[in-house]
C-alpha cells in the first residue's frame, strides 16, 4: 500500500504537455460527461452479456490509440485491481454451476460467464475513465467540475488537496524512512510508536495550513481559489456528448 499513491501527482494526473482531448471528446466538460455516460452504459449491461462488455472496450482502446496515451501507465494501474472484486468474481464461479453450453469436453457454467463479465467490466470501466482523466490536467478537471455547479467549497478543496498531496506524501515517506533507519526487525515499528510519527506529521500539516492561510490572505484570499472563471456548456459540447451517447446506445442495442 505504501507505494500506491506515492508518485501519483507526477505520473498519472495529466500534465499540461499532455494532449487535449478536444478533437474527440470536446472540451474538458464534455469529456467528463462522456466518460460518465460511458461508465453508465457499460455497467447497465446484463450479467451474462460478455460480448457487449467487450465491445465497450472500443472506447478506451480508441482513446488510447488516437490520443497516444501511455498505455503502460493505464495497464500498471489496472494490474492493481482490488482483491475484493476477484473474490466476488470467484464467488460467482463457485456458486453458479448451472451449465450453459458445452464445448465438446468442456462445460461453460453460468458462474464462469458472470465472473468473466465482472472482471471485464472492471477492467474496461476503469480503463475508460483513466484514459479520460489522463488527458486533462487536474486543475482543468476542477474548473470543469465548477462548470457543473459543484459547490465551490469542494472545488477549492480538491485543488488544495491535489497541490499538497505530493508534498505531504514525500514528507510521510521521509519520516517513515527515518524511523526504519533506527528500527531493526519489527522493533520500533509498533502501532503506538508509529502513532507519534503520524501525530508529528499531523502537527506539521496543521502548522502548514496556518502559514498557508496567512500567505493566502496576504494575497487577497477570501475563501475560495478562483483562478479562472469556468464557462458553462456550449452547444459544441452538447454535440459531442450527443454523438458519443448515440454511439454507446448503438453498442448497447447491437450487443
Amino acid at each position: 500500500m505504501e507505494k500506491r499513491y506515492q508518485y501519483a501527482g507526477s505520473d498519472l494526473a495529466g500534465e499540461d504537455k499532455s494532449m487535449l482531448s478536444s478533437p474527440f471528446l470536446g472540451s474538458d466538460r464534455s469529456a467528463l460527461l462522456v466518460s460518465a455516460l460511458f461508465v453508465f452504459s457499460l455497467l447497465s449491461l446484463p450479467k451474462y452479456n460478455l460480448s457487449g462488455v467487450i465491445a465497450f472496450g472500443a472506447f478506451p482502446l480508441f482513446l488510447m490509440s488516437a490520443a497516444k496515451l501511455p498505455a503502460g501507465k493505464i495497464i500498471k494501474r489496472l494490474l492493481r485491481i482490488s482483491p475484493f472484486i476477484l473474490f466476488m468474481a470467484a464467488g460467482n464461479l463457485f456458486l453458479d454451476r448451472t451449465p450453459m453450453w458445452f464445448l465438446s469436453w468442456f462445460t461453460v457454467t453460468g458462474g464462469m460467464m458472470t465472473a468473466t463479465v465482472i472482471f471485464a467490466k472492471t477492467i474496461i470501466s476503469l480503463a475508460g475513465m483513466l484514459s479520460v482523466t489522463l488527458c486533462i490536467p487536474f486543475y482543468r478537471i476542477c474548473r470543469a467540475l465548477e462548470a457543473f455547479h459543484l459547490p465551490e467549497v469542494l472545488v477549492t478543496q480538491l485543488m488544495l488537496l491535489n497541490r499538497y498531496r505530493s508534498v505531504l506524501q514525500e514528507e510521510a515517506l521521509s519520516i517513515q524512512k527515518a524511523r526504519d533507519l533506527r528500527s531493526f526487525g519489527n522493533r520500533g515499528k509498533e502501532l503506538f510508536r508509529t502513532a507519534s510519527l503520524i501525530g508529528s506529521l499531523l502537527l506539521r500539516t496543521t502548522k502548514r495550513a496556518e502559514r498557508l492561510y496567512r500567505s493566502m490572505i496576504a494575497r487577497g484570499f477570501q475563501g475560495r481559489m478562483r483562478v479562472c472563471p469556468a464557462d458553462s456548456m456550449t452547444s459544441a459540447d452538447w454535440r459531442v456528448v450527443g454523438l458519443w451517447s448515440l454511439l454507446f446506445l448503438a453498442l448497447r442495442i447491437i450487443f
Binding site: G9, Y139, R163, E210, R214, A218, F221, V227
Partner: protein, 239 residues
C-alpha cells in the same frame, strides 16, 4: 515605519521567546536581525505580519496597529518570506501562483499579465511558469516564493533565512536583487556575509532580547561583541 514597543511573548509551555523588545525601524534602511539558534528571531518576525499576535506590548506598521481587526491592511503592507517555501505556494501552476495576488487585488487582466511576466523574468522563472511548484528544486521554490511576494509590491519585505539551501550562484543573485529593491527590508539570517552585503543596520538578539543595535559594518566586525552573543565574524573577515 515600524515600531515595536514592549513586546513580550511566551509559549504555552512557558518558554519566553520574546522578552520586552522595543524597536523602531525607519523607512528604507535595510535591517538585519542575527542571533543564536532559539534566540527568538523567527518568533519576532512572525509577529510583524500578525501570524502571532502580541501577548504584551504593541506593534504598529506605517501607523497601523497589528491586531485582529487590522490584519487585512497589515497583510497588504508587509510581505513575509517564510522559512519553508512550500508554505507559500499553493496552486497547480507556478504562473497561477504569481498571478493569484494581483488578481485578488482587483487589477485588470492585462495589467496582471504584464506584471506577472515582468516578475517571473526578473527571477529567471519564466521558463518554469507552467510547472507545478511541487516539481521545482528547493532553490527554485525559494525564488518562486520570493516572486509571489515581490509581485504584490508590499512596502515592507521580511525574509526569514532567505539563503538557506541556495547554491552560491543563486545566493549571489539574491544579494543583487535585494540590493536593487527600494523598500523597507528586514532580513533574519545566520549568513552574516549575506547580512554584511545587504543590510545597513544590524540587531543582535539573545534569549528574546535585543543585546546590540547599530551600523552593520561596525557590529559585524566587532569580534568580542559577536562572540558574546554566540556569533562569529563574517567568514570574509576570518582567515
Amino acid at each position: 515605519m515600524i515600531s515595536i514597543e514592549g513586546l513580550s511573548f511566551s509559549w504555552p509551555d512557558g518558554t519566553k521567546a520574546i522578552d520586552d523588545i522595543s524597536l523602531a525601524i525607519a523607512k528604507g534602511s535595510p535591517l538585519g536581525i542575527v542571533g543564536a539558534n532559539g534566540a527568538g528571531k523567527s518568533t519576532l518576525v512572525n509577529h510583524l505580519n500578525g501570524y502571532y499576535l502580541p501577548q504584551k506590548g504593541t506593534i504598529s506598521i506605517g501607523g497601523i496597529r497589528v491586531n485582529k481587526k487590522n490584519l487585512d491592511q497589515i497583510h497588504r503592507t508587509i510581505g513575509l518570506l517564510f522559512q519553508n517555501p512550500d508554505d507559500q505556494l499553493f496552486t497547480a501552476r507556478l504562473y497561477d501562483d504569481i498571478a493569484f495576488g494581483p488578481e485578488n487585488l482587483g487589477l485588470k487582466a492585462d495589467e496582471v499579465t504584464v506584471l506577472v511576466e515582468k516578475t517571473l523574468r526578473e527571477l529567471n522563472l519564466w521558463e518554469l511558469r507552467n510547472k507545478p511548484p511541487a516539481h521545482l528544486s528547493q532553490g527554485q521554490k525559494r525564488f518562486a516564493a520570493f516572486a509571489s511576494i515581490l509581485v504584490m509590491n508590499p512596502d515592507v519585505i521580511v525574509m526569514d533565512e532567505p539563503t538557506a539551501d541556495l547554491d552560491p550562484k543563486n545566493r549571489r543573485q539574491l544579494i543583487n536583487l535585494v540590493n536593487g529593491l527600494r523598500k523597507t527590508k528586514i532580513t533574519v539570517s545566520h549568513d552574516l556575509d549575506f547580512v554584511w552585503d545587504t543590510c545597513e543596520r544590524v540587531c543582535i538578539m539573545q534569549r528574546g532580547r535585543i543585546t546590540a543595535d547599530g551600523p552593520a559594518k561596525e557590529i559585524l566586525s566587532n569580534r568580542e561583541l559577536l562572540e558574546a552573543n554566540s556569533l562569529e565574524l563574517p567568514l570574509r573577515l576570518q582567515r
